[in-house]
Chain length 247, copies 2
Amino acid sequence: MQTKAGDHPGDVLIRKLEQRDRLSEEEKSVLARAVARIREFAVDEDLVREGERPTESTLLIDGFAARYKGLADGRRQITAIHVAGDFVDLHSFLLHRMDHGVVALSPCRTGAVPHETLREITERYPHLARLLWLNTLIDGAIHREWLVAMGRRPAVSQMAHLICELFLRLRAIGRTEGGSFRLPLTQAELGDTLGLSTVHVNRTLQELRAAGLVTWRDQIVTINDWDGLAAMAEFDPSFLYLESEPR
Amino acid sequence: MQTKAGDHPGDVLIRKLEQRDRLSEEEKSVLARAVARIREFAVDEDLVREGERPTESTLLIDGFAARYKGLADGRRQITAIHVAGDFVDLHSFLLHRMDHGVVALSPCRTGAVPHETLREITERYPHLARLLWLNTLIDGAIHREWLVAMGRRPAVSQMAHLICELFLRLRAIGRTEGGSFRLPLTQAELGDTLGLSTVHVNRTLQELRAAGLVTWRDQIVTINDWDGLAAMAEFDPSFLYLESEPR
DNA sequence: CGAGGTCTTGAAGACGATCAACAAACGTGG
DNA sequence: CCACGTTTGTTGATCGTCTTCAAGACCTCG
């Protein structure tokens, strides 16, 4: 699902849904027309702000973004990491109000799908509606997996788990090369993701490196020992629901 | 939304969806017919097992239940607490495979909605489909709030937050009396929920009691100082999306 | 009455946070 | 092209929260 220069923005969405089920030609053409209003964001810019009431949902066409919630003291917790093809706020279609912000972790290109269009899809293309619904359900499954990691796993294991997850998600969209992938997160952002201090993130990464499991340099993560990493993380990929089935 | 003896099981579902939007008479009658096969579960029994592929979704009519994931060493993490009126596995309709189990925290009564029926609803009653979708989105919003609490808040604050959340959710279904509500969780289960050891749960509760915020005895939680508790939790109820709006 | 679950307490230790300082990399403007 | 400020990564030392282990009290229920 590598995005090419000439790609129509709707293609990103079509490929996204096709990961989980087959689409008819009519459905594809509906999706192709659904995505409009391409926008670009710089690093640290908000794609969507906490508390906002969007009238359209944002499809991440290229780049990395994160959902986050701010705390009173200025700290924050990242609750999801998004990659190309993800809908970062599809849920705002029905929730109306954003309970979190979405920030660009790298330069981002996005498309917009008006809520009006989403509503029409639910009215006239129930199969597409189910696939969109499915995508929000997978977000929820990932949330749950993160809860387990934060609640019950030590930092190394949690970190290993995140790396395994991102590797599989990025491979599914053709953004890996062998055991490597680009991940433009600072250690501070990693800390906000895992609920750790920046210092501890640094030491945890050193531990993974020392164990020969992972190399992480210049935003390139390389998994040197998948089995070892997955074992350390107790990683079971089923929560990602990567298989295609009729829905 | 107190469940009465003579209640039709479908009424629980109708009231659930009516919390968030108005329903037509036709929609209500569809929902009334959707819920079948009443079942009873004892404490610690699984309503749904991890890895299962249900052909129906389970509506909790009465009692408390928890979603959980087991770890290799036998420990577990609870990722959601469900109260009367909640769909504990609506997501299995589209995800197909359960990525977690659901266990009864108290004796439970449940109804079943066949996935076939849910599919028909998506085909013929898009507005109902949106409201069902909405309910899974609110689950996700709660997951995110828990992630923030686990990642960035100390144990007392996290505990306070959970109590605030459950109070509002239970009040919305008429299961509170003044500042009190029944919550049949052991301290061990609370630990599995918050990602804490049982010992620390105990000491954290003592702290809340000593601060005059909460009393918790014989499964009855009493909030003695809502403002103090909410302040300690930095509690903002907006993530519960308790308001009714056209969807 | 005994057995098992739940709650409580104490003591010791581990994991991760915080504070502080410095090194390295990067972008920007002069 | 270099100088400089800022961001990011790294290290050491200390501190605190929470865990683990162990034991005893309390309670419920057969």
